[in-house]
């Protein structure tokens, strides 16, 4: 490979990067129509933004995490409100124990969404079988939220974003030129709707993007729009 070829390769790789920015969806819900909630409480997003160094070490960046949390909350409220899928209910005050409980639910739901993606992509049959009998439930532990908010369902939004440093981006260009790919940043947002009376999962969608930035208002709104693109009332059954 000549130096010229390598440089052309690097430029092409850099130019092609936005093409990878299109969303990948992993929607899971019942194959048959079911009643959708009329009132929904949106929980504070469980989000973390990390920076990945040239060598691939990921570190949480607290200020970016806070920005992403604010941006995703605003985006979820504004988009859901404008689409009239359901009536938004304000998040009620909660105790420390209740917040801990909600964080545990969030972690479980994220693990569920990730394993669903894995099973859908790499294993095939298991998740298809699960979709045919879509009966996942979180149990009755969220009853306190129904009592406090009066909402029919809760929307969990879980986000993870990795942002690469300039050093890593420079390395990626060289890597692309030499045929050695370097993993770049990825934004992931998972939305899960849970029935607060039964604990049943009503719908979940998981999207990824290589170019959106969750700490940015526009990026957060685009990701939220992408999530709701598969919401049952936004589709024809």
């Amino acid at each position: 490979m000549t130096l010229k070829t390598a440089l052309v390769g690097a430029m092409l790789a850099a130019a092609a990067a936005p093409a990878f920015g299109q969303f990948r969806h992993y929607t899971l819900d019942a194959p048959e129509p079911r009643p959708l909630p009329r009132t929904v409480v949106i929980l504070p997003p469980d989000v973390i933004v990390r920076e990945v160094s040239a060598g691939g070490i990921a570190e949480k960046v607290p200020e970016w995490t806070d920005q992403a949390s604010v941006a995703l909350t605003a985006a979820a409220k504004s988009y859901a409100g404008s689409q009239k899928h359901y009536l938004l209910v304000e998040m009620p005050g909660t105790t420390q124990d209740e917040r801990d409980e909600l964080e545990e639910y969030s972690a479980t739901l994220y693990a569920l969404a990730i394993s669903a993606v894995f099973l859908s992509n790499y294993r095939g049959t298991e998740w298809n079988e699960r979709r045919r009998q879509f009966d996942l439930s979180m149990g009755e532990g969220l009853a306190f939220l129904r009592e406090k908010s009066g909402a029919d369902a809760a929307l969990f939004i879980i986000g993870q974003d990795t942002i690469t440093t300039p050093g890593r981006r420079a390395l990626a260009v060289f890597g692309a030129a030499l045929g050695a790919p370097v993993q770049m940043g990825l934004s992931v947002v998972v939305g899960v709707l849970v029935d607060l009376k039964t604990g049943d999962l009503l719908w979940t969608n998981h999207i990824t993007s290589r170019v959106r930035d969750l700490k940015d208002d526009r990026g957060a709104l685009t990701m939220i729009r992408g999530i709701f693109g598969s919401y049952p009332s936004a589709r024809k059954w």
Partner: protein, 393 residues
Amino acid sequence: MAPRIFAACAIPIIAAVMSAAHAQDHTALPAHSVPPFASRPSASDLHAEENRIWSESDDIDRRLRRQRLIHEDTDVAAYLQEMIETLYPEFGAALRVKVIDDPDLNAFALPNGAIYVTLGMLARLENESQLATVLAHEGAHFTHRHGYQHQLGAKSRSAVVITTGVLLAPLMGVANAASLASMYGFSRDMEREADRVGFERIARYGFDVEQSARVFSLLSDEAKLTKADRPVMFASHPHLTERVGNFQALIALHPRSSAPRTLTDRFETLMRPLRVLWLERALSRVRYASVIHVLTREDADARFPGHAGYFLGEAYRMRGDAGDAKRAIESYVRASLASPRFAESFRALGVMRMKAGERAAAKHAFERYLFLAPTSIHAAFVKHYIQQMEDAQ
């Protein structure tokens, strides 16, 4: 010839790319020039990158709490906090000690000053000076900012590895191995520093320095007898025997205090219930070898209540090696004599006697159990066993 030309070209390219990638990201101090904290740090004392690992540490604290992994005992918590503040008075509550409800031997410090000690570690310690040794060591990791240094070192080494990997893909295995060896060595250096700083603290605040070497001897013995390669806490630490030697060298240089704080009533009062709790947890986690090792030590009777023999019997029974059934019965008998009001020993003894065909002895043990625990959830089963034996006669 070709490899030489390749190497001649690759080395300057690696150097150039590494330097470019590093220059882009280089915002922090080099790891070796991070000064220790002199006192409780304020937010402004932290470098931006250090603030990140503190935030991650806060997340770990939250996760441990919300997963209910913290042993909540306000008296124990107050005692451990008092101890760390005695050892590091200038840091006040910046160092916070918590107990993890886990039977294995472990202790660790997070970069944000949270120190976690497992139930298993506390159960093994014999006195306050040994506890001080463990806490002083972990406190030194915080005061000397080892978490931050480790992160800086890891970033720097990983940048070298990945740059080399991108440009010299065929040699990636070598580069990885070199990086791992380097990370391992770095960690060992920090452990040695924490040992030295911790030792200075326990000496300064009147604890028995002899006990510092004793802690590592105890842990080393258990690691050998339980066939564990080494306890979890020391997975990346210098070898235990090497550390015992290091502490002995430090002790030799240090004049012994005339009246060191070694064993206090408060330590014993608080640790005794924890040791029994550890026995329950260790059995439920199949740590039979550890239970047998600890309960067959010469000092076990002094450190554990009489009914601890029941747990020893359970460990033998569940391990099931040759001769363990006999050892289990002997242990239950000893427990029933030492703590005649502890019902479980009699139930376990009854079951073992019944299996051995010793019906009269089994019935006697079961009847004693029903007398002591008439409303227990096992009572119906025990009555059924008695009925079965009577029917068989």
